[in-house]
Symmetry: C2
Subunit: 192 residues, 2 copies
């Protein structure tokens, strides 16, 4: 499955053959079964992780025991906990696989070294971060100004295909509503 990542790199940046090979030499392939954890609350996250296949979710559990889905990540996206990584502190999140998945991991040490040695790689990484930040801003925006129905419609417009892969309960949690509410919204919008 490393080809998926290689293709992604070709798409997003321009590397010489030797740079590309060099990057590959640090890659760690990781397979996850459905339900398997990539990261558990309390662990310190130490990688940069790219998904070549499957679908993962990042969520936290509050004091009342309710789960809150922070994000979904599918093939050709990155995942992990930047806060835990940056400050080397125990994570407040869990990341697990919604489907059988495959990832390409780099230890953060190696990843930073690659960023320093290969400017094109560094630029790509920064561009991704910028886009992630913009996406986060837009999500905040949506959570402040949208009704439950608008949130759902915005979600399926923005991430078509997700709705069919991910259980509704998790989507509801991601959107900040109960599964019952989402079920009713889906019923209503189906009518129209």
């Amino acid at each position: 499955m490393y080809e998926v990542f290689q293709k992604y790199l070709e798409d997003k940046t321009t590397l010489t053959q030797s740079e590309s090979d060099y990057i590959q030499s640090f890659a760690i392939i990781k397979k996850l079964r459905k339900r398997q954890y990539l990261l558990q609350e309390g662990d310190i996250w130490k990688y940069d992780a790219f998904i070549t296949k499957g679908c993962l979710r990042t969520y936290s559990v509050d004091e009342k025991g309710s789960e809150h889905v922070n994000s979904f990540s599918i093939e050709n996206w990155w995942t992990g906990d930047r806060e835990s990584l940056m400050f080397q502190q125990p994570s407040r999140f869990n990341i697990d696989a919604i489907e059988d998945s495959e990832l390409v991991l780099f230890t953060h040490e190696n990843f930073e070294m690659l960023c320093n040695e290969i400017p094109a790689f560094n630029n790509m990484v920064n561009a991704i971060l910028q886009k992630s930040f913009i996406a986060a801003q837009n999500r905040i925006q949506a959570s402040l100004s949208f009704t439950a129905e608008e949130k759902y419609l915005n979600f399926i417009a923005k991430y078509p295909g997700f709705a069919s892969r991910i259980p509704q309960t998790m989507i509801a949690s991601y959107l900040g509503m109960t599964p019952e509410t989402l079920s009713r919204i889906r019923k209503q919008t189906a009518k129209k």
Copy 2:
């Protein structure tokens, strides 16, 4: 007021005198009166902006005409619209001054050039972006899992000093609640 930015740079990174001077040579000083816009909806944002004095707010207006405060930024922080900047598209946001303010602006062209020419500067900029992303994630987290009261308490704990500078109406909007609700929460929590 440029000294404030200079001090910030010294704090966050290590530059030679000539690098520091070089950066300064591209700086544009901008003063804003209270209520004055830095950016209006529909404009294309073209700068990287650092606040040396004062307080600004970024907000959007929805179809019903309600304002939604996206963020506050004070001295020693950055502001702007990354989405408009990155894609050179009309902004959905307004940014205006809550207090008389002063900023250091760089055109994005110059800013990128500085990033390319001065690695230490580039690293600093990336670190800021990382932290901004982490803050955005935490805010999403809060908006999903906190009650109105918890959101307010979290806000004043995280940004002490903001509450006294910023009108409650705007804080309420930032937290995703009505001014009336915030007023009642403040009354309750004052009692305790």
